[in-house]
């Protein structure tokens, strides 16, 4: 009845995490560990997964297709894999959160009907879990780049600046989708298709420059294009990111998060009646 009842205040976005951080972090840990529960390697899988994927990309695109990101660029067969991997890593944060959001409330009826639960914390749980996996992927990526190329671009730490606005956008949409998912059960199916389309409509598997001029709008319109490209700037190419653009995105992301939370808190009154 305290901070949760004042979604009108912009700071509620952060309070929603901070007030229940112990609960959220514990649920997130359960989410991460639970994914591999029963398997013998357990948490090690979250290391092997990205490592194996990176190996497969290198083999398929570097050795078999001999794909090069920039025609006439370097001849390193690992390059394409690293570019692809960094793009997927960023997109993965987006898709994991967005795909799971519509079902979040439906999967936890006990939290809605039987206890007074900080429901607005559930999207944060998924966020923390997805960030954990992203962090592991980043470690794997860094290790491989260090071994193969001998050094990391100095711009690496700036990935945090790139991810911040992305997180705000994603959590905002997660709140909105989590609330809508209660009322519109079809949302779950729809959203999986939407994220799949968005993945192919962002320059993850190909450089934006490879897209014909008349279709460039479709790529530019996709907000993930910006984040994928900025992440690559700092992780792969060693260029400074578009600070002005990121600042704008941070403000925009904050507004989205705030509206998403406000919407969620408005719609939650009806949850117990529906579920």
């Amino acid at each position: 009845m305290n901070a949760t009842s004042q979604p009108k205040q912009p700071l509620a976005v952060f309070a929603s995490f901070w007030n229940h951080r112990t609960l959220i972090l514990n649920l997130a840990r359960r989410d991460v560990v639970g994914r591999y529960s029963g398997s013998m390697l357990g948490l090690l899988w979250s290391f092997f997964n990205p490592l194996l994927m990176l190996g497969v990309y290198t083999f398929v695109f570097g050795l078999v297709f001999k794909t090069r990101w920039n025609p006439g660029g370097s001849d390193n067969m690992l390059e394409f894999a690293v570019v692809l991997f960094s793009g997927l890593l960023v997109f993965g944060i987006f898709s994991e959160n967005i795909n799971r959001a519509p079902g979040l409330m439906l999967q936890n009826p006990g939290f809605i009907k039987r206890v007074v639960f900080p429901l607005e914390g559930l999207p944060w749980v998924v966020m923390c879990s997805s960030l954990f996996h992203a962090a592991i992927s980043l470690v794997v990526l860094a290790a491989v780049m260090l071994v193969v190329m001998g050094s990391l671009p100095a711009t690496w730490p700036l990935i945090l600046v790139v991810l911040l606005p992305l997180l705000l956008f994603v959590i905002g949409f997660s709140w909105a989708l989590a609330a809508l998912g209660v009322y519109l059960r079809d949302l779950q199916q729809t959203i999986n298709i939407v994220t799949a389309v968005l993945m192919f409509m962002s320059p993850i598997f190909y450089p934006a420059s490879a897209v014909p001029k008349e279709f460039r709008w479709a790529i530019d319109w996709n907000p993930m294009t910006f984040f994928v490209e900025q992440a690559r700037q700092v992780l792969v190419w060693g260029h400074p990111p578009d600070f002005a653009g990121l600042a704008g995105m941070t403000v925009g992301g904050f507004v989205v998060a705030w509206l998403g939370l406000a919407f969620f808190q408005h719609a939650r009154d009806g949850f117990a009646d529906v579920i």
């Binding site: 514990n26 009907k113 206890v115 209660v182 009806g270």
Partner: protein
């Protein structure tokens, strides 16, 4: 507003909106009051009450009277449609079975999860962990996912958690209905102890438990506050009302039973012994429900059973009895065709359908059968000392036949003509307990040193 209040509910109303489709509900949220996409059902209407800090308040009412809805609103899991609730202090609730458990999580994880939900820190939960496990007493299951638990185990764990979160206000909704007798006793002990320091809101339709535990009772009827006041007084009113309405209902439902109604409409038995109900926790209280004429029955229908009741030997109808005292089971019948040698009998069965005891009029009337002409009425009265029964629900099957013990025509047999519930009992491990004349347990002079047999009991009947 006063800090002496734990709960203040003012003008609470809750309407459930019945939508035809989930998306209509979403439309409604945005349409506000401009359009109605739903039909309304009022579960609660203008309910106001206050609970002072440290008070124990029971909420009683029939099924569907809004008890659970009211509790959910007090706990904050449901929003009232009108009115508002103020609560002061940490609330721990047991609404429905299993509380806020996540089925995929282990018992241990759920303990922590529930602790975090009510706002305990990890250290605080760790400090209580052992005590919670000991209270729940479910052994190694604590490491298994909750989905593998039986209902009883889940309730034990839920109750154990709730008992250890240092709540200021406990809200308990019919939680003790499951769970074995030993655990229920443990819970009752805890609740009695908790009463001394905290505020308790207790819902049940078991008026015995409510009258036993609560200082004050709120009675809900059809979503409205019917009465509120001292526990005993309100429980009495409630029982009386229940009693009358059941009789009224059976009269209305079976027009064919009109002549019978005239017989049974004798003043409802007000049980004076309710007044001394609170005495001992082990007293064998037996709550007797009304004759259920519509219960499943069979037979040739050459006779009908008009009424079945418990009576005091002096003749008043009983709604309450105590194991060990003398009671009468009275069965009124009417012959619909001439009966040469009718036999009337009854059989008491426990909830598993085991025949506990019973008897019939055959031997008594063997020598001189009570022949009945068409339209004649008769009454059979079995007077006996009610045995001590283990807690649970019992039913009495009654029958009227014509003929002999081993060769007769069954005219009407009603399976569960009358049910009664034994609330508390000292009998645990046997089908029945007999009222003992005397039990002695004493040292045999001089023999103790010689035999070294400890505690030889000398039981005299």
């Amino acid at each position: 507003m006063s800090s002496d209040l734990a709960v203040r509910a003012e003008g609470i109303a809750k309407s459930f909106r019945l939508f035809n489709h989930p998306r209509d509900r979403l439309k409604q949220i945005f349409a506000g009051s401009r359009r109605k996409y739903y039909q309304e059902f009022w579960a609660l209407n203008d309910v106001s009450f206050e609970v002072a800090r440290g008070e124990t308040v029971g909420i009683i009412g029939r099924n569907g009277s809004g008890k659970s809805t009211l509790l959910q609103i007090v706990c904050g899991t449901l929003k009232p449609s009108a009115g508002h609730v103020e609560t002061h202090g940490r609330i721990a609730a047991m609404l429905e079975l299993g509380a806020g458990f996540s089925p995929e999580f282990s018992g241990r994880e759920n303990i922590f999860l529930n602790g975090y939900i009510v706002g305990l820190t990890q250290q605080q939960i760790e400090a209580r962990y052992e005590a919670i496990c000991a209270f729940a007493d479910i052994g190694d299951f604590i490491e298994q996912p909750i989905k593998t638990y039986s209902t009883g185990m889940a309730v034990r764990l839920a109750f154990a958690v709730m008992a250890h979160v240092d709540a200021d206000i406990l809200v308990i909704d019919e939680a003790l209905a499951v769970g074995d007798a030993r655990f229920v006793q443990k819970c009752m002990r805890f609740l009695r102890e908790f009463k001394e320091r905290g505020t308790l809101l207790f819902v049940s339709h078991d008026t015995t438990a409510v009258a036993n535990l609560c200082d004050r009772v709120v009675w809900l009827d059809g979503g409205r506050l019917k009465a509120s006041g001292p526990a005993k007084q309100v429980c009495d009113m409630y029982l009386e009302n229940l009693f009358e309405s059941v009789q009224g209902a059976s009269r209305g439902a079976a027009p064919a039973a009109a002549p019978a109604a005239a017989l049974t409409s004798a003043a409802p038995s007000r049980d004076q012994r309710l007044d001394i109900l609170q005495a001992s926790p082990y007293r064998n209280d037996v709550e007797i429900f009304e004759f259920h004429r519509e219960a499943a029955s069979f037979g040739r229908r050459g006779a009908r059973i008009l009424d079945v009741r418990f009576e005091h030997p002096h003749g008043e109808r009983l709604a309450w009895a105590v194991g060990g005292e003398t009671v009468v089971v009275a069965i009124d019948i009417e012959a619909l065709e001439p009966l040469a040698s009718p036999i009337v009998g009854f059989l008491v069965r426990d909830r598993l359908g085991q025949n506990v005891f019973g008897d019939n009029t055959y031997l008594t009337s063997q020598a001189s059968p009570l022949a009945l002409a068409e339209g004649d009425s008769a009454s059979a009265r079995f007077e006996f000392d009610l045995p001590l029964l283990p807690p649970g629900d019992y039913s009495i099957a009654v029958a009227v036949a014509d003929g002999r013990q081993d060769d007769h025509v069954q005219h009407e047999w009603i399976h569960d003509a009358l049910t009664f519930r034994v609330e508390t009992s000292s009998v645990r491990h046997s089908l029945v307990g007999l009222p003992m004349r005397a039990i002695r347990f004493e040292r045999v002079a001089g023999a103790a040193a010689a035999t070294r047999t400890p505690g030889l009991a000398d039981t005299t009947r």
